[in-house]
Amino acid sequence: MKKLYEEAQKEISKADSLQQIESLRVKYLGKKGKLTQILRGMGSLKPEERPIIGQIANEVREKIENILTETKNKIAQLEKEKKMKIEYLDITMPGKLYKYGHKHPMTQVLDEIKKIFLGLGFSIAEGPEIEFTYYNFEALNTPEDHPARDLQDTFYITSDILLRTQTSPVQVRTMEKTKPPIRVISPGRVYRSDEIDATHSPVFHQMEGLVVDEGITMGDLKGVLNIFAKKFFGEDTRTKFRPHFFPFTEPSAEMDVSCFACGGKGCRVCGYTGWIEILGAGMVHPNVLKMSGIDPEKYTGFAFGLGIDRITMLKYGIEDLRLLFENDMRFIEQF
């Protein structure tokens, strides 16, 4: 029996495939295997010897079983490794893409701006692009003979209806139908009769903002726009407010931000001034409040407006406005 075990051990250790293991199992432990044969031959033994031999036989079976399993596991492991080895892939080859579309850069910029103002408690108001002259001018403190009308080359549909030249009419529409507190932004298309070139377009995009409530101050205007500038252009951004003129705000201002390309040292982007003009703003003119049915003695407010196209160009360093309207897929897929 000892001989049998040694023989089996020797043979099993030489095995190198799962089939060999299986046939060795049959050879030694199977129904017609060597061990069984030995056990069968036990009939010739004395009865008192049988349990002893039986016990030895069982021990031998167990031992052989163990080496078989052990070796089998070892071989299985080796075979798995071998298989995995030939399954190695070129992991530098490209993946199967799920193509996700690209949002137009202007929409991306607008989304980012919207997010900031939503966080500051603003809602979004919308208004018509074909608008009554009244909302675009008169209600914004810009009567017929106002010199400010000269600055805007307006497309007219009839004498009373035009293509809005600014998103500001939405201010008036909002104030007409909402009681303060008002906190809205209003992005949209606007129109001015400029031939298209690298910096002008007859169709462009603006975003208007309006806050009306009791106790709104010019400090609030500055505070809110400062936060916007920092969130949008980066925490290190500095702002500067310069007096300006708009018929529908007073005092009126333009806001410059420190150049995000050079940090204010002066470069090509900022025309070597270190500053970039970003938006117009001001305290809502009492006449505008009054015309929209809001008591200027009780309420005050501020408004601001910025050009989405221009900010998009600045943000991404796009040098020609026409690229935004050309829609070359290779352009859009950069964003």
């Binding site: 690209h102 929409t107 603003f122 000269d150 507190p181 298309r189 609030d220 829609n327 070359d328």
Partner: protein, 794 residues
């Protein structure tokens, strides 16, 4: 507005450099857009006189001149053709420097020694285009200055000129004194008006003025200057005009322009001898009255316009342009100076109607101060007396029917601080206002303010607040975050959320977003085969479009998508998948009496090797799925832009949501696109209206489903949807899902037929269905398909 600092400094006592002044004024509201320096880089350039000029021996186009510069005579070679012996000219000596880093050295030109250079105006940094013809493209010919005099000194060249952007509310700043006042207030320096003393002759002024149209002309001031000698104005004056971008013409015209720049009041000079009876009548034009203006054009006038006339004819368009019939010429001797004030809206109206804008009209239409007229007239008289060799006659005419009233305002400093969110002491407010020439009286808690006559823009408290804020400095007001205001919740409305979601779905389907313009022309509609009587042709028309092809507000986005597809195809972009979300404009009636409907529309377009009808349909179905829109039907579309067999109209009940499909080959030919293109247009407003994204939970099924496949042979033109409908109707509530998995034509299928195969999932929510039950339903489906559609089991 171009402002010379040396001129400015005549009126304000300030000693700072150009950059400091520019920054200060920008921050107080007069924005400086640029600074141009004159004379800074010029050295060793002196006045010389050409005493001899001969042809260059070796070059036809060159001259050799002998130039006297006082201390010596230099031989200089030049290529200029506008000079002759006797001319005074600027001479850059050996070692001279000129603007742009140019250095002059003596040398030889074609073998002839040249000891310097004769300079053009351009080479001295001046704008040559403003100079008379004979000065252009040649040497700058000077008046007789002392020989050898430094050119900077002779021309008073050294200067900094600030370019201001003046906002339309501040016409008073379109003058040197206006900017001087702002400078004085900004830097808290003192401002002084120009000193004006007119030396009058003995002779009485013979001119008379009658204002008939007192509603259009508020004041008319005039003076007569006799025996003038027309000639060039002094060089210093010409230089100031040049630096301000104004063309020097002759002494009389230059004086009127000079005064306009200095004081902001446009003046006009008439040849008095051509004014009938020396009587100026300010009246409305007669209907159809004609006048040839100074630009040589005949204008036909109407009674809405104001003319300056004499007793028999119009001699000028008031505030816009003078008439040719009374123009100052070289032979003019006696002059009438006009300094008047007109109604701004009328000037605007006239200049618009005639398409005639002038320096004067653009100032008058912003609204000028009638109080400056006399001063301006006196200033002009003073200068004409000095530089035009004339005599100012005794007496000034001043017709001023209704003198302007002063504006008095009362403001409350505490209220102003509350409004600004600042804490400016009342004393500082008063100081600011006084520096701007407002008169201020403290009355208890309030300030009574008298507005200076030149500040017509200040009419209410808000205007005062702005004055105080801008001079206090916007950036000195502390930032705050609406601490007094009520809290508001920032959020998107449901339809705004759905619009964003729509974009996200289309992006997730791999479509890129595009943005196109809103204008179209009839040609765009022609290109997509739209018939003449189509509602698409009923478009809002712009009165003053940029061109015929941009004269309509778009009623469809399709032509724009096809344009973009073409752009990309022509640039060899192989795969194109795009969408746009924008508005189309649908008028109820034309011409517009009310605002048109602005319908938010989704436009989709695609081409490429893996793109077919079902690609675009898949995108649309995905969108409906996400939006929770169920029960959409697709029927054959009859749209002329699309392939009739490969396009569908999307119906939800009675409502048409849109159209999509393959673009008609004729249309593709019009766009010169040789591959199949798939497009669609869907009404986003309706999608938003029909969307249902409210989610409800139903428990997951407890009992197993039984899947059975079925393949039937049907007529080729039977819609798969019909087969599905019969299956669903027959199977009733036990049908959980039907999925088409194969459509087959070919061997074993008769001509004109197709085999369609579905998987059907049967399930009950109450119990496990037995085979017998499923078989029974399945058989009844087979039977119904045969009976209702003639579909044979395959």
């Amino acid at each position: 507005m171009l402002v010379s600092l040396s001129w400015l400094k005549e009126f304000v006592d300030i000693n700072k450099d150009a950059n400091t002044i520019a920054d200060g004024l920008t921050m107080s509201g007069s924005k400086v857009e640029g600074i141009k320096s004159y004379g800074k880089e010029i050295s060793n350039v002196v006045v010389g006189k050409i005493i001899l000029l001969e042809k260059h021996p070796n070059a036809n186009k060159l001259w050799v001149g002998i130039v006297d510069i006082g201390s010596e005579k230099l031989q200089i070679v030049t290529g200029a053709q506008n000079i002759k012996a006797g001319d005074y000219i600027p001479v850059a000596l050996h070692g001279a420097t000129l603007p742009g880093g140019v250095k002059i050295k003596r040398g030889k030109l074609r073998g002839v020694e040249s000891n310097g250079m004769m300079c053009s105006a351009e080479e001295l940094g001046l704008d040559e285009s403003l100079l008379p013809e004979y000065q252009r493209n040649g040497i700058f010919i000077l008046p007789p200055f002392p020989l050898g005099m430094d050119i900077n000194e002779a021309l008073q060249l050294k200067d900094d000129v600030l370019e201001f952007e003046i906002t339309p509310n501040r016409p008073d700043c379109l003058s040197i004194i206006g900017i001087a006042r702002e400078t004085a207030a900004t830097f808290r320096k003192s401002f002084k008006m120009p000193v004006i003393e007119v030396k009058e002759g003995e002779e009485e002024n013979p001119a008379k003025v009658t204002i008939e149209a007192t509603d259009l002309c508020f004041r008319y001031v005039a003076r007569v200057v006799k025996n003038v000698k027309i000639g060039p104005s002094p060089m210093w004056m010409q230089m100031r005009l040049l630096k301000a971008g104004i063309r020097p013409i002759n002494n009389v015209v230059d004086v009127t322009n000079y005064v306009m720049l200095e004081l902001g009041q446009p003046l006009h000079a008439f040849d008095l001898d051509k004014v009938k009876n020396k009587h100026i009548i300010v009246r409305r034009a007669k209907e159809g009255e004609r006048l040839v203006t100074l630009d040589g054009k005949e204008r036909v006038l109407d009674s809405s316009m104001l003319v300056i006339a004499d007793e028999e004819k119009a001699i000028g368009l008031g505030g816009v342009m003078g008439g040719e019939n009374t123009e100052i010429t070289d032979s003019t001797v006696n002059i009438l100076i006009e300094s008047a004030n007109f109604k701004r809206s009328n000037i605007r109206h006239t200049s618009k109607k005639l398409g005639l804008r002038s320096e004067a009209s653009s100032r008058f239409e912003k609204g000028l101060d009638p109080e400056i007229t006399v001063l301006a007239c006196e200033r002009a008289a003073q200068l004409m007396d000095k530089y035009c060799g004339g005599t100012v006659l005794k007496g000034i005419v001043d017709e001023y029917p209704k003198p302007m009233e002063k504006t008095v305002l009362t403001v409350n400093p505490e209220r102003i601080n509350r409004f600004l969110g600042a804490n400016i002491p009342t004393s500082e407010m008063i100081e600011i206002l006084k520096s701007l020439e407002f008169e201020v009286v403290e009355k208890g808690e309030e300030l009574e303010i008298m507005v200076p006559h030149f500040r017509k823009d200040v009419t209410m408290e808000a205007d005062i607040v702005e004055e105080i804020a801008r001079l206090f400095g916007y950036n000195n007001i502390e930032d705050s975050l609406m601490k007094n205001a009520q809290t508001t919740l920032g959020s998107l409305t449901k339809s705004q959320q759905l619009e964003e979601k729509t974009r996200e779905v289309l992006l997730a389907c791999g479509l890129n977003e595009i943005v196109t313009m809103s204008f179209m022309g009839e040609k765009d509609l022609d290109k997509i085969n739209i018939p003449q009587d189509s509602p698409f042709r009923k478009a809002v028309r712009i009165i003053n479009p940029l061109g015929e092809d941009q004269s309509l507000m778009r009623t469809t986005l399709l032509p724009f998508m096809l344009n973009v597809a073409y752009t990309n195809y022509s640039r060899k972009v192989e795969e194109f998948k795009a969408f746009e979300v924008s508005r189309v404009f649908l008028p109820k009636e034309l011409p517009l009496t009310e605002l048109p409907q602005e319908v938010k529309t989704i436009s989709i377009g695609m081409y490429g090797k893996d793109v077919d009808f079902y690609t675009i349909k898949g995108v649309i179905e995905t969108l409906f799925e996400v939006m929770g829109i169920e029960g959409v039907e697709y029927v054959r579309a009859q749209e002329p832009s699309y392939h009739p067999g490969r396009s569908a109209k999307i119906l939800l009940g009675e409502e048409a949501l849109g159209v999509f499909g393959e673009i008609h080959p004729d249309v593709l030919e019009n766009y010169d696109i040789p591959v199949r293109v798939y497009c669609g247009e869907i009404n986003l407003d309706k999608i938003i209206e029909c969307a249902n994204i409210e989610k409800k939970y139903t428990s997951l099924p407890k009992y197993p489903a039984v899947e059975r496949d079925i393949a039937v042979v049907v007529d080729e033109d039977l819609f798969v949807k019909e087969v599905e409908r019969v299956i669903r109707e027959t199977g009733g509530k036990f049908i959980e899902k039907i999925e088409l998995f194969d459509v087959y034509r070919g061997p074993n299928i008769p001509e004109g037929k197709k085999s369609v195969a579905f998987s059907i999932w049967y399930r009950s929510r109450e119990r496990t269905l037995t085979d017998e039950e499923v078989n029974e339903i399945h058989d009844s489906i087979v039977e119904a398909l045969d009976r209702r559609l003639g579909a044979k089991l395959r």
